[in-house]
């Protein structure tokens, strides 16, 4: 079972009251939850159109890359479900453990060039940035950086 920072606070406070610092952190998070929920709603609603747009754009930009099937576009868009969960919980470890580690292993096993996946995510990022409202994009951005980092340094190193 993965714990988030919030569950860690709850367990740490066993047999005592939450302290002021813990309460402040929770309240600060709660104030951002409506925006996080909005992101989750927008991602869910836009899944089909994002998949279509991503597939079309990948084919247009990289006509030689046969890897870029509709299925791959769908998988990448569906990976946003892990992003959404991590953003909603405000804990990027959820994204790392539930998606990034799995993706690294899968790409290494299939001998896929991680840069191709990084390129596809870059296109997806552009599409999202155009379609999401600014406040929603801001809560998504840290998760996106985590994804970017794993696809550049970490993933490339791991697959060599």
């Amino acid at each position: 079972m993965i714990n988030t920072w919030l569950t860690e606070i709850i367990h740490t406070a066993n047999e005592r009251l939450f302290n002021d610092e813990e309460l402040a952190r929770m309240l600060s998070y709660y104030s951002s939850v409506p925006t996080r929920l909005k992101l989750v709603e927008e991602l869910e609603r836009q899944e089909p159109s994002l998949t279509r747009a991503l597939h079309k754009e990948l084919q247009r930009r990289y006509p030689q890359r046969t890897l870029y099937t509709r299925r791959l576009a769908q998988d990448l868009v569906e990976s946003l479900r892990y992003v959404a969960r991590a953003v909603l919980a405000d804990d990027l470890r959820l994204l790392r453990y539930r998606w990034i580690d799995h993706m690294r292993a899968a790409l290494a096993a299939c001998d896929v060039d991680p840069q191709w996946i990084a390129d596809a995510y870059a296109v997806l990022r552009e599409l999202l940035q155009r379609q999401l409202t600014r406040s929603v994009w801001e809560v998504l951005d840290p998760a996106w950086s985590e994804l970017d980092d794993s696809l550049t340094r970490g993933l490339v190193a791991a697959t060599r």
Partner: protein, 172 residues
Amino acid sequence: MLARLTLEYRTPYPTSDDRQQIENYLATVRARRNAFEEIRRVVVAVIDRLIERMRQAYPEFARYHGHGFEKGHRDLVLLTQMAANAMFLGEYQTLDEMFTEWYRTIIKASHLSPTFVRDALAVWREELQAALSDEAYALLRPVADHLAEYLTRIPVPPKDETGKRLPVPPRR
């Protein structure tokens, strides 16, 4: 509630029910924070009064448990603090996993009768209700009711170690 929900939803995205639960909870957070503060202020005084009334209702208790009321005071402060945390979080499943079952085991191991525990928790709720604002107690009540029900679900011990029971004195 949010801690559990963000980890445990099994659908690709949280359902509309999940989202509604979160929104309902968020709408009460400010009141929960205020109630938490009220509980923090009154907890020791509430337990002081509870122990005093229980001493009068169970005058022989100390014969069986030398420092029973002192330990009971400590444990009931603890219980109240855990209840306050659960109230703030808007759920008591985590409280049960971390604390309540363990606490019930301690009660059983101390050979306390269900009647004794029921009396103590009835006084606990009564004193809390009297010490807190109506709004604060309304938020705490689901947790307090749950704890009172859960912790009194214990067998009658083979040897009751609470002694003679007199009527629990009314609140002063």
